[in-house]
């Protein structure tokens, strides 16, 4: 193609892009438009009306927009009065902090007690003595079959599972036992602990008080081991072997209880505590009852 075939100036003037964006807006101009400091002569094409619109949106307030100041001031007065009514340092945050600290200390102390009890099998002496003192008065008011001398003890395993299977849950304290089973001399403490669990979980500490008859009858180790052996969860078979069911109505069946027998309302007290002497920090006793009272 020679130079005479076309005008070079015309060729160069051909548009490289079809249509330039008529509303193109660079970031700087956009920021200045939003800030409202773009003079009209510098407003990009197509944005003059937008600038006017934004100026109208940010116009000085009308009287209607300033209604309600008195209500806001009334709220301020009330809030100021309330703030001044509370002396410095006695407001809610301080009280909450103190209560939280007390709860934390109590939880720590009770957890440590529970761990110690679970590890050693006995409560620490001061706590046990305190528990004995407390529950000595309770025992006077509520007759505990196992703790009362001369009362006929009943089989522990059969009683517990029988109650669970019938949905009785907590066996009423002091109620004559309907379950007929082979009497076992050393089952009194175990049964007592079950009855306590059914009556009041807080009274599990009473197992410690019922340790005395156990000691007197067959020695501390024997009583503890029999309680452990009479667990209805299948971990100990001695309870079943020593106390077979006798009434044929499902009572006294020392085999596997329902897996959730200990968690259903009204049935959960059939399972005796694994350690009736020191209390179980997971099932009851001081580690659990303390924080609940708080």
């Amino acid at each position: 193609m020679g130079a005479d075939d076309a005008w070079s100036a015309e060729i160069r003037r051909l548009p490289l892009t079809p249509d330039p964006d008529p509303l193109a807006l660079d970031d700087d101009l956009a920021e200045r438009l939003l800030d409202g400091d773009l003079p009209p002569d510098q407003t990009p094409p197509g944005y003059a009306a937008v600038a006017t619109l934004l100026a109208a949106a940010a116009a000085p307030p009308s009287p209607a927009e300033l209604d309600g100041q008195e209500a806001a001031l009334a709220e301020l007065r009330a809030a100021t009065r309330a703030r001044r009514a509370i002396p410095w340092g006695t407001g809610r945050p301080g009280r909450r902090r103190r209560v939280g600290l007390l709860v934390a200390v109590a939880v720590c102390a009770l957890s440590a007690t529970g761990i110690a009890a679970a590890t050693t099998g006995t409560l620490p002496d001061p706590i046990r003595d305190t528990a004995r003192r407390i529950f000595a008065t309770v025992d006077d008011a509520i007759p505990m079959p196992s703790a009362l001398p001369g009362q006929q003890p009943t089989p522990s395993t059969g009683d517990a599972v029988g109650a669970a299977s019938e949905g009785e849950g907590a066996t009423p304290v002091g109620e004559p036992e309907a379950t007929a089973g082979t009497a076992a001399v050393n089952d009194g403490p175990c049964r007592a602990s079950k009855v306590h669990m059914g009556a009041d979980r807080n009274k599990k500490l009473n197992a410690g008080t019922s340790q005395a008859p156990v000691d007197a009858a067959s020695g501390a180790d024997n009583g503890t081991s029999q309680c452990q052996n009479s667990r209805p969860d299948g971990t100990g078979g001695n309870g079943q072997e020593q106390h077979p069911p006798s009434d044929g109505h499902g009572r006294g069946q020392g085999g596997e209880p329902p897996p959730d027998a200990g968690s259903k309302p009204g049935q959960g007290q059939a399972k005796p505590p694994p350690n009736t002497v020191g209390g179980n920090p997971e099932k009851g006793g001081p580690p659990e009852t303390g924080p609940r009272r708080l």
Partner: protein, 189 residues
């Protein structure tokens, strides 16, 4: 903007000085109302009142300059708006009556004030037609007078996202004003 006197004003307002609090209220209440009229027009006054209640409760603990105070107030406002959206979502839909859409006029009702208020109302109504994020970003920038970073924090987005939102919103406004032959803009002007 209040300016250099803001720290003393804030301290006095936090101590219960009604005059100082009134200055803060005068500066921010119209902006709050306009913000709510764009993002939750049906409950603007109620939400503004709730915002001020929260400001009164927390003003004693606030620390910062005027820009931070303004950003704090609009952060509260946005939370109130979100609460309002949740409440509205749980509420059964009610049909609005046409009369409820008209605002009561000012008691003295001078013509200039009406025209000015009408133009502001029209402008806010047009901004409210934008997609929600674009409208909110533009109002927080233009009406509340906040910086990009503050708007980004309030809207829980990145600053670049806010720039894109406002840029798109401005472009959309320009397109609407051009295609509509600018009737609203002419009324606004």
């Amino acid at each position: 903007m209040i300016g250099p006197g803001f720290p003393a004003l804030l301290t006095a307002a936090a101590g219960g000085d009604e005059d100082a609090f009134g200055v803060l209220w005068h500066d921010l209440q119209p902006r709050l109302l306009r913000y709510f009229k764009v993002i939750t027009p049906e409950a603007a006054e109620d939400l503004a009142s709730e915002t001020w209640l929260a400001v009164i409760r927390g003003i004693g603990r606030f620390q910062g300059d005027e820009a931070a105070f303004r950003a704090w107030v609009f952060t509260i406002a946005r939370h109130k708006a979100r609460d309002g959206w949740r409440r509205a979502a749980r509420r059964p839909v009610e049909e609005l009556q046409a009369t409820s859409l008209t605002e009561p006029s000012a008691p003295d009702d001078p013509a200039a004030t009406v025209l000015e208020a009408a133009s502001t109302r029209e402008a806010l109504a047009l901004i409210a037609t934008l997609p929600a994020g674009q409208a909110e970003a533009i109002v927080l920038r233009v009406v509340a007078g906040l910086e990009v970073n503050q708007v980004a924090e309030i809207m829980d987005k990145r600053p670049n996202t806010i720039r894109v939102l406002t840029h798109r919103g401005l472009r959309r406004l320009a397109e609407q004003l051009r295609t509509d032959q600018g009737p609203r803009a002419r009324r606004a002007v």
